[in-house]
């Protein structure tokens, strides 16, 4: 093994290996001039999406070197609708991370239940002074804008349910849009074929409409990115998609103008933007021990459902306004209103249970229960959910008691 070759060959090989590299392109990355292309998972800096923070303090408590500083106060928020109740909410005063202590383990990002903390690949925040590494929430919020979308997973990985659902949704929407655009284009052609109907209208073929190709179609872009296309590819395709859509839209407008016939507005499907979550459902699911992700997804669905129901109800109420008797109120309330004068009736219905009383979960928690659970060593999340449930139960009990007294 050692020195099996004739003497001197090893020395020559050494010269050979080094001179070989003289003619290769240096592997140096010219850093300040050339930005490193960091992967999305890079743990560069911790960013705070302040809007999502509920001051639950999980991150600060889980941090192995206690480098997160949080201050907050409670604030009463006026009721969202008429007749509702005022709610108290934790308001974040200070959120600071001392990056001179931080060991970049990522536990805070992992434990954050509301996706308020994120890793960003930003890394250029070196300072000459250690004190300056303590960054407040404003700075952390700025970094939140640099957080890249998570990378798509390997083929062998289990798909993340929400991502799969989101991709499905986007793909379906795109198909729908394309179908609509095609339909519009066909209609335009038909309109073209009947010049008598609209002689003044410009012969608007899709080819003749000029759309400035500067913008991108965000939906298409997101979908493509989610499919794992490169950013450049996605951008190009999204631009094309934008142009197509714009053309379709302009065509449709022109057509409408030419025909000048008032189209009967169809009862469109009610579209609700699925952005929010239904807090009640969420809390309930959490209390049942579902995972946060699952709970969030279901809560979103629940919210959409509710919203749709609400909008439909409003529309119905608005259209045949006169026909519906205004006395039709929620039955429970009606019962409550009617109960006092009809004493026998009240006696006849003594079996009113807690489940019959409706109390809206406002997000407040029952501090006693919460403290007790925390003392028992439950996690904060569980404790909060259970304490909320306890609060609602108490309110219901109070309501029942009041009725009983009455």
């Amino acid at each position: 093994m050692a020195a099996t070759s004739p003497p001197g060959v090893g020395l020559l090989k050494g010269l050979g290996v080094t001179i070989k590299h003289l003619f290769k392109r240096p592997s140096t990355q010219m850093y300040p001039n050339e930005r490193p292309d960091l992967p999305p998972r890079t743990r560069g800096v911790i960013a705070l999406l302040e809007e999502n923070c509920t001051v639950c303090m999980l991150c600060a408590r889980e941090c192995p070197d206690w480098c997160i500083y949080i201050d907050s106060h409670k604030e009463t928020v006026p009721p969202a609708k008429e007749g509702g109740r005022a709610r108290t909410r934790n308001m974040l005063d200070r959120f600071a991370i001392d990056f001179s202590l931080c060991m970049y383990c990522g536990i805070c990002v992992e434990v954050c239940p509301f996706d308020a903390l994120w890793w960003s690949p930003e890394f250029e925040y070196a300072e000459y002074d250690m004190d300056k590494l303590l960054h407040e929430k404003e700075k952390l919020r700025e970094w939140a804008d640099t957080v890249p979308p998570p990378p798509p997973l390997d083929e062998g990985a289990l798909p993340v349910p929400e991502v799969a659902a989101a991709i499905d949704k986007v793909v379906k929407e795109r198909e729908l849009e394309e179908a609509k655009a095609e339909q519009a284009a066909r209609d335009a052609e038909l309109a073209q074929a009947a010049p008598a109907a609209a002689p003044a209208a410009a012969a608007a073929k899709a080819e003749e409409i000029h759309v400035e190709a500067g913008q991108i179609d965000q939906e298409t872009f997101d979908a493509l990115i989610a499919q794992g296309k490169s950013e450049r590819m996605a951008r190009a395709k999204a631009k094309a998609a934008y142009v197509k859509k714009e053309k379709a839209r302009i065509l449709a407008e022109q057509e409408a103008a030419a025909a000048a016939a008032p189209a009967a507005p169809k009862a469109e499907e009610i579209h609700v933007e699925a952005g929010q979550i239904d807090q009640e459902t969420f809390d309930a699911l959490i209390a049942e021990g579902k995972s946060e992700r699952m709970a969030r997804a279901k809560a979103k669905a629940a919210w959409v459902k509710k919203e749709k129901a609400r909008i439909r109800a409003e529309q119905e109420a608005a259209a045949p306004a006169a026909e519906v008797a205004p006395a039709e109120v929620a039955p429970a309330e009606a019962a409550a209103v009617e109960a006092p004068p009809a004493a026998p009736a009240a006696e006849a219905a003594p079996a009113r249970k807690l489940s019959d009383v409706h109390v809206e979960g406002s997000g407040e928690i029952d501090q006693e229960t919460f403290d007790a659970l925390i003392a028992e060593g439950k996690s904060e999340r569980i404790a909060r959910a259970k304490a909320k449930a306890a609060w609602i139960k108490k309110r219901k009990q109070e309501q029942l008691d009041a009725e009983g007294d009455a």
């Binding site: 080094t18 590299h21 240096p26």
Partner: protein, 371 residues
Amino acid sequence: MNVELTASLSPAVFVPAPSAFDLDVAFGITVAIKVAFILALFLVVPLVVGYMEHKAMGRLQHRRGPVAAGPFGTLQLVADGIKFIQKEDVIPAAADRKVFALAPGLALVPAILVFLVLPFGPGVWAVDLELGLFYALAISSVSVLGVMMGGWASANKFSLIGGLRAGAQLIAYELPLILAAIAVAVQAGTLSLVGIVEAQATFTLPGTDLNLWFVFPQILGFVIFFLASLAELSRPPFDMPIADSELVFGYMTEYTGIKFAMYLLTEYAGMVSMSALMVVLYLGGWQLLPGVGLPGCEGAGGMFDCGWLGAIGGVVITLAKILILTFIMVWARVAYPRLREDQLQRLSWLVLVPLSLINLAVIAIAKVVVF
């Protein structure tokens, strides 16, 4: 008396070849011009070589080398020099302050003095000494005194070991170096460096008109001289006096700022002067290729009595050869680990000294019999 006989019996009278700076002006001005010339060479050429080393090392190691200071990083060493000047001059409390301060200077001055006799082109030398080769080798080995002084005066064990290693290394490698150089002097018949260049310009392979440099008959001597000069300069793979992973930085451990820079400058100047010596002794001086003279030149082999064009061409050729030799030094530094001190001594006494004696004997016999 027969004139010819007298000439052959009595030693030839040495007539120094005139330098281009020997102008028809006052002696003082001539001296000033020569000093300026030597200093300019001393300050500029090592910088060029240093830049070459930075860049070549970078590329050999698959990186770029300096890029930021000046165009293509050319001013990197200038920037380094400015940095060294600004640095605090720290003298250890236990150091022998006078010796400590004197040592870098003592290492540096001989490195300057060697440049006195080095011919860089036709007429481009300060002085042509009859004992030029002797002078160059003798004065260049004085540098080690500065190194040993620095090692001793630092009051640091690493420095001391480094200094002693440097001394041992000098003793071991001076011998093969000089023995190899003597063979050249024997073949050329002179110790004058200009004379040796002239001898190479006129040396032909016996029996033919083919002009040859001394590297061809004395390839063994050239290799020995090259290795010995690497060792004498403490260049890798013979850099035990510095040996940064063992001795921190050897005799330079305690030096900072401008004194440290002086040691570094000594090293680069040494690389230049040793390479220049090799060019003169073995590679035909400012001759482009064997048998090819310079434009506008007369004299032996078309290499002397030139105009400005020839002088500049000669200097360019010499510098190019120096750069090639120093590149090989850098290349060896990049490719090899360092030897151990005892292996280095063994290499010198058991391999290089006998080989250089054989080389000397062969050349001496050939000089009488063949050349």
